[in-house]
Amino acid sequence: MSGRRPFGPLPLSIGGEGVGAQRCCAQGMGWGRGGSSDCPSRADSGVDAIMGWNVIGHEWVVSLLRQRLTSGQVAHAYLFAGPPQIGKTTLAITLAQALNCAEPDAPCGHCRSCVRIASGLHPDVQIVIGEGVGESLKIDQVRSLQRQASLMPYEGRYRVFIVPRADQATLEAANSMLKILEEPPVHVVLILTATHTEALPPTVVSRCQRFELKPVPVATMEAALQQRGVPLPKAQLLARLSGGRIGWAMAAMEDETILRQREQDLEQLTRLLAADRVERFDFARQMGQDPAASRRQIELWTSWWRDLLALCLHRPDYVTHVDQMETLSRMAARCSELQAWAVLKALQTTVAQLESRVNAQLAWESLLLQLPAFRHPGNPREKEQFVER
């Protein structure tokens, strides 16, 4: 989530004063990417990234939106759904720019209005989020939104309210949004984002124009990364690792620590496969105390074993960790697709357990007991050679 949002503080955020850049950053929109780094400011590159409709991927959404806007048909409520960091909020901000930009080819990205929206200083574009760090949206914030919505825009054409993570809103908040979502004042546009539409009450979804954002294709992402000066092998790797989440790829592109962290995690993974129970349980203890790392590891392991599954089925094209092909194929030669499946299943169970607030250490211990053992003797020369227990 590190500095993912390409805009700065928003002075008029509903639900409390001083919802600044740091607050925005602290609002993780999902798990698995927290903890790796703090919030480096990315305002400079961010403005560049959202120039015009310069949204990477999601062409079908952009073309639909653009056509609607040029023909003057503005819907009053939009819903962008998709996995975290796929570009929902970026799209929402760009839409807000397009709605308020005065240039003929809106959004121009450089007029006063566009720049102010990008930097979060536009009085008519507001981000509605929960009051405290990581808190969900409450009914009071929605009531305040309703009050604000009845006011005319200060300088733009529309008052735009962006509600990120609407699926995290309390049931009361979501319900109290219903009326204004259905029939808002003419100058109001609401933009909701959510991880998927099922997470929202159907009554909310039914009132919005919904766009389910799909993962950005690997090729598009590779090209976009290369355009930004990422060398080819790294671009390939990032495009695959991101799972189509452009936000993640952009963050990883700028923040070396993310990839370095992955290297460390991979080492950890191979070491654990060879480790005995004492070492494994020690690791479980660490994971139990660090939820962020725990989630990162599970995501990494899942993609790793899925790679093995793909290799066992002779489908190297689907491999995510392309830079680890050697190790992967060596391991794949040592395990069957059923083994890979069994581990994936165990990982799935662990995810479910962690989400239902099972003792994290216990969940990890159970997972690690189910992990097969690939042992290599202490001899460093033989280190590469996995020997089954």
Partner: protein, 554 residues
């Protein structure tokens, strides 16, 4: 705003325009004609079925200045005021935002004042299910006996959240989901008025997707207007992320024919083409369900499939092993729930896992395959004992066999050296059982603990070893594929031949081949005369451990 959302633009203004709620419109119209207007109504039902619309229509109809038959006329000052949302006597309250007791007290205070221009003051409490309990209770008295000039209309999607005391004071109308043809007709009418050309198949897909909620359907149509005046099925599929059922059908064929890798390709290609994994999962389940029904004797033409597709489905059902079909349905069903949780890294992973899972035959065969399946020709791959036993069908075995390179790479590292099948006897297995347990323990102590509960080998058929377990709850424990594999590997290692494991609950076990391997013969072997094969084996065993064998004359 330049363009109004279509679902607002085409909000019904007369009772006749309301789609799919005929019983309710008829009842209300009759009541209006006969002047039997009640003081409290409750409109409940799923989203987008016309509840709020009906409440407004009611408000218009009771206040309309036209003749009784023509109400609402949409021409008198009252109707126009309501349509424009500015009649003072229609008080539409957002009960989800104003849900406290104070708001209800406010109503109670003002309810006594006479209407300003209309005949009745109509209070519409929208989203009434969100009122708090004290608020509901504060409303009770007013709702039961309001002044004669007041009508309440409570509107909600969740009637079960409304206290029974409230419901009993209202005339309740339950709105039903709008039937598919009604939605299609309405959409077609709107499209015509908007000057759009929409393919009938596209309309039907939109209608199907909206699951009986008209607002969803119109909203989607609205969204599609951006594509221009002609809307094709393909565009709808693109927006919805639905794939053609062809992909789901192809995937089902892969499942039937045991082509895991091809199935993996299908899933990944569909996702690259913009399919939504959840949609794909649902469609696969739908196809599998039809196959299941066909297999159970339903005629394929009962599912409104084109003739060609029906024949295809019949053929597919024919060659789909029922056991795998059930497992596939189960696996994909679980996958759709899992997809909701889904890790963001690989959105399609649950589907891929379901695909692999469909090919597992784990643990004691609760739904036993016909014995023919077990007599599959032995696969000459020493390296994959687990796979060979867990994939029951010979067709599935072909893909395990087709990996010569991998297997030769793997062969030296695996500790089951003899690829040749050797006839095992029960006594041999029984004798080796403690060693097997030991070997299991090296792999996984928990598995050994499970086996120690009283599991024992009871029967040997060729290279298949039948092991009984005493308690039903062990089924789950032993059913774990990892565990099966461990036991199997241990058996193979100790007995030094490729073994297949079959687990049976002790009470369900019936000796199947008492004739083929008479115990008397084994006892004989037990008695001391070792046959040559056994001797050779002992020699080999000793050699491997660096020992030497000397045979003493008996």
């Amino acid at each position: 705003m330049a363009g109004q959302a279509l679902y607002l633009k085409y909000r019904p203004r007369t009772f006749e325009e309301v789609v799919g709620q005929e019983p309710i419109t008829r009842t209300l119209q009759n009541a209006l004609r006969q002047g039997r207007i009640r003081h409290a109504y409750l409109f409940a039902g799923p989203r987008g079925t016309g509840k709020t619309t009906m409440a407004r229509l009611l408000a218009k109809a009771v206040n309309c200045l036209a003749d009784e038959e023509k109400r609402p006329c949409n021409a008198c000052s009252i109707c126009i005021a309501i349509n424009e949302g500015r009649l003072l006597d229609l008080i539409e309250m957002d009960a989800a935002s104003n849900r406290g007791i104070d708001e209800i007290r406010d109503i109670r205070e003002k309810v006594g004042f006479r209407p300003s221009e209309a005949r009745f003051k109509v209070y519409v409490l929208d989203e009434a299910h969100m009122l708090t309990e004290p608020a509901f209770n504060a409303l009770l008295k007013t709702l039961e006996e309001p002044p004669p000039h007041v009508i309440f209309a409570l509107v909600t999607t969740d009637p079960h959240k409304i206290p029974a005391t409230i419901i009993s004071r209202c005339q309740r109308f339950d709105f039903r989901r709008v039937p598919l043809p009604a939605i299609v007709n309405r959409l077609a009418a709107i499209a015509q008025q908007e000057g759009m050309k929409v393919e009938p198949a596209a309309l039907e897909l939109i209608a199907r997707q909206s699951a009986g909620a008209l607002r969803d359907a119109i909203s989607l149509l609205d969204q599609l207007t951006s594509y221009g005046d002609e809307i094709t099925l393909e565009q709808v599929q693109n927006v919805l992320g639905t794939v053609t059922t062809a992909v789901a059908g192809q995937l089902a064929a892969c499942l039937a024919d045991g082509q895991i890798a091809a199935g993996l390709d299908l899933i990944n290609r569909a996702l690259d083409d913009g399919a939504d994994p959840r949609q794909l999962g649902r469609e696969v389940i739908e196809v599998l369900r039809v196959l299941l029904l066909i297999k159970q004797g339903s005629a394929a033409h009962g599912f409104a499939l084109p003739a060609e597709q029906a024949a295809e489905m019949n053929a597919l059902a024919e060659r789909f092993p029922i056991e795998r079909l059930l497992r596939a349905i189960h696996a994909f069903n679980a996958a759709t729930t899992e997809l909701r949780r889904g890790l963001p890294v690989i959105p399609q992973l649950p589907l891929e896992m379901a695909l692999v899972e469909s090919f597992l035959t784990i643990g004691p065969p609760a739904v036993t395959a016909p014995s023919g399946a077990r007599e599959a020709p032995p696969i000459a791959t020493a390296s994959q004992p687990a796979v060979s036993s867990q994939i029951a069908e010979p067709s599935a075995a072909t893909w395990t066999g087709g990996q010569p390179v991998r297997e030769s790479e793997r062969a030296p590292s695996i500790s089951t050296p003899s690829p040749a099948l050797q006839a095992l006897s029960l006594s041999e297995v029984e004798r080796a059982w403690p060693q097997v347990l030991q070997a299991v323990r090296q792999r996984n102590p928990t598995t050994q603990a499970v086996l120690n509960t009283g599991c024992q080998p009871v029967e040997v058929n060729g290279n298949e070893i039948v092991v009984t377990f005493p308690f039903p709850f062990l089924r789950e424990k032993l059913g774990d594929p990892q565990r099966c594999m461990e036991i199997q590997e241990a058996l193979s290692e100790v007995l030094r031949t490729r073994c297949r494991l079959r687990l049976v609950l002790a009470t369900e076990y019936t000796p199947s081949s008492a004739v083929s391997s008479p115990p008397s013969e084994e006892r004989e072997t037990d008695g001391g005369t070792l046959n040559d094969q056994t001797l050779g084996e002992i020699a080999r065993w000793a050699q491997q451990r660096g020992g030497e064998t000397t045979f003493l004359p008996s």
